[in-house]
Amino acid sequence: MTSIILAIVIGAAFGAVLDRIGATNPNWIGKMLTLTHLHLMKTILLAIGTGSVLMFGGQMLGLVDVGHMSVKTAYVGVFIGGLLLGAGWAAAGYCPGTGVCAAASGRKDALFFIAGGLLGAAAYMLTYPAWKASGLLDGEKMTLGAVPGTEYPAFFNLSGDVLGVVMGLAFVAIAFALPERLRGTGEAVAPAE
């Protein structure tokens, strides 16, 4: 029961924040991916950095349970899947989470996105054996440094939690350093709501 209450509280907070930062608005996604207004990119980078510093900092102080970490396997299919997701994300202006949130906020095109998504996920379920047999799904769950209290192999033989805080700070620094726009001329124009 506790886990269901947590799911409701954290899930609702996540949906509300996605709505308020503009991530559920395809105009903001388009602006970010055409590099004409990087507001959302700065938001995302700052969020990753903040999360990283708090999580690894908390783990170093013993306040955050290392056992809650869940690192995914790195394999060639991650890159191929990333390419596919990126292309669809740009075309539709939605990713799985923001598409669901956009539909909930009344955007009609997001309903079509979800329908396409359900079909795409079903198509993967059916073609999974071929991917599995190809060996492209084989890999290891690996972190950048060795995180104390975990079994994950490390890419660099360095302290994983210190590296995590450093990476987090780097994300924050990039968020601040990025200009409002990289392409086009004039003031970056915020899209309509």
Partner: protein
């Protein structure tokens, strides 16, 4: 009405941190599979079957990792599935609280109108096709923007960096090609 990136980024970071502090990292795309499995099992009750120590499926993907997905589809009242439903509710309430998305936007986003005019059917077809590719890709990668890119890079997971590199390498040229005019 969009939050300043400093406040928005901080709040989003706190949500991702709160999730890993209290439960586990945020992820969404798996739940598309779970919903497919629930619907599939309604149409064909042989899709998910109970075993002595849990659930399995005639579909190899649902049966993998000890029937993890089959188990969740058989018991939809689990953390990850409820999380996604709550996320939709949170977005709905937040959108309503700021006065809702306006009628024109709900029908057709401005960026589409600026590039392709008043062509909602084309837009819906593009959103459908985009959704198909996004979820196929997310399942192949084993996660999406939330699970791989945000939760992954936050944990310094190598897979998160690989995924983000692939996603932006495709997304930026695709967006530049499709949306030449600023919305």
């Amino acid at each position: 009405m969009t939050l300043n990136w400093k406040l928005g980024g901080l709040l989003l970071g706190l949500v991702f941190f709160g999730a890993v502090l209290l439960v586990k990292p945020i992820g969404v795309s798996t739940q598309f599979v779970i919903l497919d499995a629930i619907v599939g099992n309604t149409v064909n009750p042989d899709l998910i079957t109970q075993t002595e120590d849990g659930y399995t499926s005639s579909n190899a993907y649902l049966a993998k990792s000890g029937g993890k997905y089959a188990t969740n589809a058989a018991n939809p009242l689990n953390y990850s599935f409820v999380f996604v439903l709550a996320m939709a509710m949170g977005a709905f309430l937040s959108a309503m609280a700021r006065g809702g998305v306006d009628t024109d936007e709900r029908r057709l986003p401005a960026i589409w109108y600026a590039n392709y005019g008043d062509t909602p059917v084309k837009r819906y077809a593009m959103a459908f096709l985009g959704g198909f590719i996004v979820l196929y890709g997310a399942r192949l990668a084993g996660g999406c923007t939330s699970g791989h890119m945000m939760s992954g890079m936050m944990q310094t997971s190598i897979s998160g960096y690989i995924f983000a590199a692939g996603a932006f390498a495709a997304a930026i040229p695709t967006a530049m090609l499709l949306y030449r005019k600023e919305g």
